[in-house]
């Protein structure tokens, strides 16, 4: 009958909020600097970092049952299959020179 989950200290929540704010400012700032193709990479890397913070702390995946990360990663895995096969299809369509492709 014990309380099943541990309570995160308040400073964790405010700390994560602060980190998310800083990362938002960074992503906007980085967009105005010309980094060439790296601009996209930086924007996505910051978005992935931000979402990881939200998932781990706001969504309590850290300190939760280990089955939750497995479920999340399986979803991400299938998302990559979607992106990969789509890219493989459209990326190679010009190679054969089939009319109308």
């Amino acid at each position: 009958m014990s309380v099943s989950s541990h309570v995160q200290p308040l400073k964790t929540y405010f700390g994560i909020f602060g980190a998310l704010m800083i990362l938002t400012a960074l992503t906007v700032g980085a967009a105005f600097i010309n980094l060439g193709p790296a601009n996209n990479f930086v924007a996505l890397a910051i978005a992935v970092l931000k979402s990881t913070l939200v998932i781990l702390y706001f969504m309590h995946v850290k300190g939760n049952t280990k089955l939750v990360p497995v479920i999340i990663l399986s979803g991400v895995f299938f998302l990559f299959i979607l992106f990969l096969l789509l890219a493989a299809d459209y990326g190679t369509r010009g190679w054969l020179g089939v009319p109308g492709r």
């Binding site: 309380v3 099943s4 979402s51 706001f58 969504m59 049952t65 979607l82």
Partner: protein, 214 residues
Amino acid sequence: MSEDSPGLAHHFDSYEQQKDSATLGMWTFLVTEILFFGGLFAAYGLYRTSYPAAFRAGSHELDITLGCFNTVVLIASSLTMALAVRGGQTGRGKLASVLLVLTMVLGTVFLVVKGFEYHDKFVHHHIPGPSFHFEGPESNHVQMFFVLYFAMTGLHALHMIIGILLVGYVAKRAWSGAYTPQNYNFLEGTGLYWHFVDLVWIFLFPLLYLIGRH
């Protein structure tokens, strides 16, 4: 629900098992949501690589200040939501309820700002369809950007509306003391949903607003 353990459904052995099941169920739903939005992100990736110049031109029509403001509002609403769940977790239902109402207010602010942005697009004939008009080259491909812009932000806004209604229901229940430290699973699940909506925006904001700004 038995006498000595209120809030524990009879098919669970312990509160812990009950909470783990609820969390797992919610995450399974959220994974289907990730793949649901994933289809749109895939379409976005495909068209953006096909027409990079048009996507840059389309993106420059969006108001970066409003986008930025909404990002801050949504992250703040995620904080109030996380604090509300913590309130439920520590048995402070009234505090949780107030924080949930604050979350609803922030969510509504987001939608109102989004409404003004949509209105601006309407005035400038940037709504895809017969009356779409764009000064400049590749007008058709810019239209494709706006199709994706409205599909993605529209679906996101729909999730926000559902989320606000859900949070309202949970706020009412929290006020009347429905959640205990042993069982606040519905509150936690609603929190997970709200944070998920925030996650989608974390990706939408740079992908739609911040293309080629330098």
